[in-house]
Symmetry: C2
Subunit: 189 residues, 2 copies
């Protein structure tokens, strides 16, 4: 566990053992069963989660009852509703475990104290955030220009094995198409 976080962090900057311990000990570890919620729509997102193991989805229930998945989170990813976490407002979406999931979680206050004690952590999260922004921009490129079929096949090659871990209707939801239409796409080659 500690090992896993440390290994992740030193990809972004140098830390000494003491710092790594402090970071790890400031987080709390938590396990969630399949279908448990890490965050519920409309409540404030109190934590930034580092996924040690498992799989989660971030999604929102629309007024008409439709579920809309914005992102999946897997091992070694941070997940949170940043807007809610930073501004302490109600979250527009939920985070739910799709498999048994273990995370390290840290509150805003704890993180801010860490920034003061370990300034280089500021840099690490700057870089992580930059990478997330780049990833989202790339995703947008695809969603803006590609049709449903292309998005589907793109997803398959980007995250192979995903179609085994996630039911098809969730993939459709992530791709922003109806399950019926995804079924159609798969049938016609």
């Amino acid at each position: 566990m500690k090992e896993q976080l440390s290994k992740y962090l030193i990809r972004y900057a140098n830390f000494n053992k003491l710092d790594l311990n402090l970071i790890y000990n400031t987080c709390s570890i938590q396990s969630y069963n399949k279908k448990d919620f890490l965050l519920k729509q409309n409540s404030v997102c109190k934590y930034k989660y580092f996924i040690l193991e498992g799989l989660v989805r971030q999604y929102r229930v629309e007024d008409n009852g439709n579920e809309n998945i914005s992102v999946f989170g897997i091992e070694n990813w941070w997940i949170t509703n940043l807007d809610s976490f930073l501004n302490e407002t109600g979250s527009i979406n939920s985070i739910q475990a799709l498999e048994k999931t273990t995370v390290l979680q840290i509150t805003k206050t704890e993180l801010e104290e860490l920034y003061l004690k370990i300034p280089v952590l500021e840099r690490v999260f700057r870089k992580i955030t930059e990478n997330m922004l780049i990833a989202l921009q790339r995703k947008n490129e695809i969603f803006m220009k590609k049709n449903s079929k292309e998005r589907y096949y793109n997803m398959l090659e980007q995250i192979p094995g995903f179609s085994q871990r996630v039911p098809q209707y969730m993939i459709a939801s992530y791709l922003n198409i109806t399950p019926e239409y995804l079924s159609d796409i798969r049938k016609n080659k």
Copy 2:
């Protein structure tokens, strides 16, 4: 000029006069005429730009010749192709001035030196990047769930006055619809 950048920066953290001077002097100031390019597709994005005055668009020319605008930049915004800037790879899009535009520009190397000299700047750009990520996530919400008409009226209220500064076909491009269809939307109320 210096005043404008300083005023912007101290919204994110405290700086002393010396630091502010150093930051300002590390940037170079540059003016672009209407239609000038700050960045050309396929070339490496060498600068992060802080727009002092004017208006730019970031867009990409697709294989079929279509132009697709991903974002507009106005006064007091940073603009860059982050992927290209950080990874020093060819940019998938261009940045072009739509009005006479004045910017402060800084290279990756210069910025990294500033991070070392003024560690709190690391925090500032962490926060700026976080805000950009949140903004992009909000934009995505709208683009995923709202139809063309709603996106159009949403844009009008989000950035009023924009429709005067930008030709309609560019608004259509940003909204990801055809100019013909936008014309249609405007006609039917």
